[in-house]
């Protein structure tokens, strides 16, 4: 932790994320208006005292929608990455520990999936399903586990041959115990780095999907769909796109800076 404090950029990222989590948790307190309440008479109002960030095309308060959107966007990021970590770690450990044909099968699967541009896979699937928040999270998660699988498998391969693991196997400890107690803790740090970077990526992916009309659906506010809706008003109501755009930028940046800081910290090779 002290080393993390020394890395000012990573620390700034951590602070930002902590702040966002607080906003997300206390959204009802932080918001000044109901994020769904429309007021057609006061639509497209520029930022003012009554509406800090102005109002959108239905007269909804942009600031309050950003506040509530924090919940949605963080949730999308965290759950999507959770799914990808789960799938990636499990497959990676199986592949790295058992080896042989299971390994070949999984790794060829990874190779195949990695050949496709991620956005292509996501688009194909999401355009067939109903684009709602659950589907968006699951699909982003299920199309981003491949890198993690490779990473975890690599770590597993190197740990497997260590003496204490070989010893545990000789003693006849059940495989599940070896995996959980001896191998899992060793792969946690690279997974953590990758997951932190992944959250930012998932938030960006959601915004890209929203641009194509396939992200989290209105009236629920996500930064992605606010930005997408604001895009068409970029000429006459800049506040509709600038605030969500900045929110995405700052949040993704924070996760990346923290992730890079963690990498420096946890990877002994790159620490000085």
């Amino acid at each position: 932790m002290r080393r993390l404090l020394r890395n000012k950029l990573a620390f700034a990222g951590l602070l930002m994320i902590a702040g966002l989590v607080v906003v997300a948790l206390l959204a009802p307190l932080a918001a000044t208006h109901d994020p769904l309440a429309q007021d057609v008479i006061h639509r497209l109002q520029p930022p003012s005292g009554a509406h800090l960030f102005g109002t959108d095309d239905l007269g909804r308060d942009v600031y309050s929608r950003i506040v509530y959107g924090t919940r949605v966007s963080l949730l999308v990021g965290v759950i999507a990455v959770g799914i990808s970590v789960l799938v990636g770690t499990v497959l990676g450990m199986i592949s790295g520990y058992w080896g042989r044909w299971v390994d070949t099968l999984i790794m060829r699967g990874v190779d195949i999936m990695l050949c496709f541009p991620t956005i292509f896979l996501i688009l194909m699937v999401i355009s067939f399903l109903e684009p709602n928040i659950a589907n968006v999270m699951v699909i982003i998660g299920l199309t981003s586990w491949m890198g993690l699988t490779r990473l975890v498998r690599g770590e597993c391969l190197s740990i497997r041959e260590r003496e204490y693991i070989l010893g545990a196997r000789v003693l006849g400890l059940p495989t599940s115990r070896i995996l959980l107690v001896h191998i899992l803790p060793n792969v946690i740090s690279p997974v953590l780095v990758s997951a932190t970077l992944g959250v930012g990526g998932a938030i960006l992916t959601e915004s890209a999907l929203s641009f194509l009309g396939l992200g989290v659906q209105p009236p629920t506010a996500s930064w992605g769909n606010m930005l997408a809706a604001g895009k068409d008003y970029i000429h006459m109501a800049w506040w509709l796109s600038v605030y969500p755009g900045v929110a995405i930028l700052v949040t993704v940046l924070a996760f990346n800076l923290l992730g890079e800081g963690l990498r420096d910290l946890l990877d002994p090779r790159s620490s000085s």
Binding site: Q38, P218, Y233
Partner: protein, 533 residues
């Protein structure tokens, strides 16, 4: 004619050029589209991009004039005989295809043969199913025989006629579908095809030998720009000469439109809220009427359309001759709505603000397709209207294909917001007749009314417009009372055209009806072409 008056236009000469300068040919006209065309063949074109280009390159036998009257185009005149069982078209003799070949009745016969060819991927076959035979007794006469009289038949011959001699090397339907001429069309229309750069632009050049006289604008350029915000940027940069605006854009800063004229006129369409009449919630007419009383259409028109539209009362817009102006709209009144609901047994027993009947709360889900902002916004406003009378409406926005396939076609919905783009003929047999309720057919609300069935059948058989008018006015008033749909609004088209272009005039037919006469005065022509035609 009220509509004509509501069309505003600021005509200010551009850079001191007199407004009445004489027509001169030259310059180019640039339009933008979200999607590229698919087939430049009127039989195969099903998207608006292809349709728009085809209408400049090809002609039909008949067309609608500026007052929405059917007039001859490739046909000089026609006779309807035997009570509508036979139509005789007399063709113009001075028409030549763009490659110089003369246009004859053989081309019309060929076009019909392809329309009913099972191998041809045309979506327009159904209009020609009633045809018994098409004959060409001589080069300038076409005789069409019908199995039963079919009033919209005449309109259907507005279909673009394609050249037999070009397609002759493709006798099979499958060859026809992939014929090279579908990408390099040869027509009879005011513009000749010049170039198609995939996903970039389609270029047409004025046809100097056009039988109604050559158009003034020398080039027509169709640019493909797949994002609306970017299209508007290009418009502000004056790289696009014409574009349909959203209500917000229309109302935006006047300086965006310094060099543009804005127009408004009623579009030939309506937006509606449709009930699933099989749903136990909505099979009671009193409930449907209650919902109609709860809706404030003015609020939707002001809030969503910013005033660019009219409240709808039925399936025909005011510009249609079938429109029944005596149909009164439902008076917005929460009290009336609540009274009707109480009569139908819906009461708020537990005081949670939501009505119940036999212990079940009044809650339903409205679906609409994503990508249509106006429909989404209308739905959100309706949500608040219904909550005032104790009805909870959930909203789901679905991707178009799954929306149609999994929900609408399978009648798997409570209520839906959609719109119909109408053809000029008021025959709406496909939408309202009880025989059209199968999966994938258009009476997806399951509307059954024997009187309406009878009227729809009669309306197709009679050619006299006076008699048909009575029929469709009655349909209008029955539908307004039965309420299978709540008809929400008739929207307006809001195009803008660059000021250097002279000639655009709004008529009942819209704006583009006299495109051939649009011109740019010599002094302010923007695009120069070396050889003037």
């Amino acid at each position: 004619m009220v509509l004509l008056c509501s069309c505003r236009k600021e005509t200010r000469p551009l850079d001191g050029i007199a407004a009445d300068s004489p027509p001169s040919s030259g310059d180019a006209f640039v339009e933008a589209s979200l999607g590229d065309a698919s087939y430049l063949n009127p039989l195969l074109a099903s998207d608006s991009s292809s349709g728009g280009i085809c209408s400049l390159v090809y002609n039909g036998l008949v067309k609608y004039d500026k007052d929405l009257k059917l007039v001859g185009e490739l046909a000089e005149s026609w006779e309807v005989r035997n009570g509508g069982l036979e139509i005789l078209f007399h063709l113009r003799k001075d028409v030549r295809w763009h490659d110089g070949e003369p246009f004859t009745s053989a081309d019309v016969k060929y076009t019909y043969d392809r329309l009913v060819d099972p191998q041809v991927k045309t979506p327009y076959g159904s209009d020609f199913q009633m045809v018994a035979s098409v004959e060409a007794p001589d080069a300038l006469t076409v005789r069409v025989r019908y199995k039963t009289p079919f009033a919209p038949a005449l309109e259907s011959w507005g279909m673009g006629i394609i050249p037999r001699h070009v397609f002759e090397d493709a006798p099979e339907g499958s060859d026809f579908n992939k014929h090279p001429a579908n990408r390099a069309p040869i027509g009879t229309g005011p513009y000749r095809f010049t170039e198609w750069r995939t996903d970039e632009k389609i270029v047409l050049t004025a046809n100097p030998d056009y039988f109604e006289g050559p158009p003034f604008l020398r080039r027509y350029i169709f640019r493909i720009i797949p994002d609306l915000a970017v299209q508007f940027l290009e418009l502000r940069q004056e790289n696009i000469d014409m574009m349909g605006l959203t209500p917000d854009q229309y109302r935006a800063y006047p300086e965006f439109f310094r060099n543009y004229n804005k127009f408004r006129y009623p579009a030939f369409s309506y937006t509606y809220f449709a009930f699933n009449l099989n749903s136990p919630l909505f099979n009671d007419k009193r409930v449907r009427k209650a919902l109609a009383h709860a809706i404030r259409k003015d609020e939707i028109i002001d809030g969503v359309l910013l005033g660019f539209g009219r409240p709808a009362t039925g399936p025909y817009p005011p510009t249609s001759w079938a429109f029944n102006e005596s149909v009164r709209d439902y008076e917005p009144s929460d009290d009336k709505a609540k009274a009707l609901l109480a009569e139908a047994g819906w009461k708020d027993g537990d005081g949670d603000g939501i009505l119940e009947k036999e212990g079940r709360p009044f809650e339903f889900t409205l679906i609409t397709n994503q990508g249509n902002k106006l429909r989404e916004l209308s739905a959100i406003i309706l949500q608040s209207h219904f909550s005032r009378i104790g009805i909870k409406m959930n909203l789901r926005v679905l991707e178009w294909s799954s929306f149609l396939h999994n929900y609408v076609d399978k009648k798997n919905f409570d209520a839906v917001i959609l719109g119909w783009n109408l053809s000029r003929d008021p025959d709406q047999y496909g939408i309202w007749h009880s025989s059209q309720r199968g999966e994938g057919q258009y009476n997806f609300v399951d509307y059954v009314n024997p009187r309406v069935d009878e009227l729809l059948e009669k309306g197709r058989r009679i050619f006299d417009q006076g008699q048909r008018k009575q029929i469709y006015r009655e349909i209008h008033s029955i539908l307004a009372d039965d309420l299978p749909y709540i008809f929400l609004y008739y929207p307006e088209s809001l195009p803008t055209v660059h000021k250097r272009v002279r000639g655009p005039r709004v008529a009942p037919a819209g704006l583009g009806w006299n495109f051939r006469e649009w011109f740019v005065p010599k002094e302010i022509q923007k695009y120069q072409y070396a050889s003037q035609g």
